[in-house]
Symmetry: C2
Subunit: 146 residues, 2 copies
């Protein structure tokens, strides 16, 4: 998608996805683990690890998010992704979250945060949901007749 059609958070998400791909994680953006909860990026690692990344373009973008604590139970690791000029001191990193610095084109993992492995049943269900969502999206992109 052309850059100018993307919102700032979406451009950061693209950079995050490129970064995570270089770490051998396959990414989907805007994933809905359960109704009413949408995460910016969900990434699936080679051993089935599930990471969630929330992208915040600026202070106001972060302070308006009242749902982020709900994301923690849907992943093994949770990260904030912010641009280099973001005031990182306002992020609740002591909650175990990791930190990614990202721009439109890439990024860097500054901190991994804590790992809190998902229960097996939830990992299984989330992996299946991720798989089906990814396949349906790529079918939608490939097949113009749909």
């Amino acid at each position: 998608m052309p850059d100018d059609l993307l919102m700032p958070g979406q451009r950061i998400a693209r950079g995050v996805c490129r970064l995570l791909r270089s770490h051998d994680f396959a990414c989907l953006d805007e994933v809905v683990p359960k109704p009413g909860l949408r995460v910016d990026v969900m990434a699936l690692g080679p051993k089935g690890e599930i990471w969630v990344v929330e992208c915040k373009s600026c202070r106001a973008d972060f302070t308006s998010d009242r749902k982020w604590q709900g994301y923690l139970e849907w992943c093994d690791r949770f990260f904030w992704a912010v641009p280099p000029d973001f005031p990182t001191e306002i992020l609740p990193l002591d909650s175990g979250a990791g930190l990614i610095l990202a721009d439109d084109y890439g990024g860097e993992i500054l901190g991994q945060g804590a790992e809190t492995p998902l229960p097996g049943a939830r990992r299984k269900a989330m992996t299946l949901k991720f798989a089906r969502m990814a396949a349906l999206r790529q079918q939608g992109l490939r097949d113009p007749g749909l």
Copy 2:
């Protein structure tokens, strides 16, 4: 992809993917379960069912395939997909395979064949592989900078 850039088998695969989507299965084409083995279509159902579909455009396309028996151990159900004018009597349907009639735009399931559930560990590994492949492909389609 424009129709005229697709091979006959690929056009049938597209019709199969549209059909299976209408049955709530998410599809990927050209999936490699293990090195040296490539299936035309792999589909993932709402309960995690894994189906494999081999698309044969004509008699010669079928008779030149010496690998199809290797596909059975990678799915819960296996189907042949052929165009309406295909000589279906040459297909080994007594092996438990299902049958799909398909063209470039859709199709119909004529027989479900037998269900032979995958062992749990293989289903888990295959679902993860499917998920990561689908996500990487959709990322490749969406992000022109990759």
